[in-house]
């Protein structure tokens, strides 16, 4: 019962803030609502017993990535988007087609009863110890490669964005 209440409230918050993200005219509104969306997703992760991933989502995704977005939005000094620029008929039609396609997919997910795992099975909780054990044995290579990826991203971002030396 409590689980249902928690799930539905977090899910509703997630969907509402995501809708505001794509429909808001001012970019700052979109960014801040996306931060709220990520917090509600972190709540859903905790509901799935994925504690480490929830903490990483809040710290890295909502705390670093979205703050970076906020910096760039404020650096560029974006103003409110013109309403007429946002809605042309072709864009609206394409958006509607995409929406219908994925709602069809949702319907098929809800009516598909062939999967045998409906209830979540009892499993290890996703705390740091259990994930660490996997990360350093089975997923060691992706772990090391991701550190190289982050190095490449750092170097790329700095090289791209630094000012030209006169």
């Amino acid at each position: 019962m409590i689980q249902a209440i928690t799930f539905y409230s977090f899910a509703l918050l997630c969907v509402v803030t995501a809708l505001v993200v794509i429909m808001a005219r001012h970019p700052i509104t979109s960014v801040l609502n996306l931060v709220l969306c990520m917090f509600s997703l972190a709540g859903l992760f905790v509901l799935c017993e994925a504690y480490f991933v929830a903490a990483i989502q809040v710290i890295v995704y909502a705390g670093a990535v979205m703050v970076l977005f906020l910096f760039v939005v404020m650096l560029l000094g974006l103003q409110k988007e013109e309403l007429s620029k946002l809605k042309t008929w072709t864009l609206q039609g394409a958006g509607a087609v995409v929406g219908v396609l994925f709602l069809v997919q949702w319907y098929m997910t809800m009516t598909d009863h062939s999967a045998s795992f409906f209830q979540p099975v009892a499993s290890l909780p996703g705390n740091i110890e259990n994930i660490g054990k996997l990360l350093f044995t089975k997923f060691l290579l992706p772990f090391e490669v991701s550190s190289v990826l982050l190095l490449a991203a750092i170097i790329g971002a700095i090289v791209l964005a630094k000012k030209e030396q006169k």
Binding site: Q3, A4, F7, A11, C14, V15, A18, V21, I22, P27, S30, V31, L41, L44, C48, A50, V53, I56, Q57, V60, Y61, V65, L68, F69, V72, V73, L76, L78, E81, L86, L91, A94, G95, G99, F102, L103, W106, T109, F117, Q119, P120, A122, S123, G126, I131, L134, L135, K138, F139, P142, S146, L149, L150, A152, A153, G156, A157, I158, L160, A161
Partner: protein
Amino acid sequence: MPITLNHYLTLSAILFTIGMVGIVIRRNILMILLSMEILLNAANLAFVAFSRALGNLDGQVFVFFTITVAAAEVAVGLALVVVIYRSQRITDANDLRSLKW
């Protein structure tokens, strides 16, 4: 009604839809990147839900890597946006028509 895997997958599909519609209807480059973040988060939710349903922690480790890759991609993407804005004052995705300026 207990919360089953289907509930999480439905929410993931709805979020993915919202992200896709956001990419299609938005013109500002930054807002397109923002809608891509919704897409990635929807996929992360699906991973975590399946990880719980299958009793396997591999899904959550994959979410860890997805968040890492998303952070790297956002850093480079935003650096590109800053460079484009600095040289051309363009924020509309439709105005980016040539590779060289």
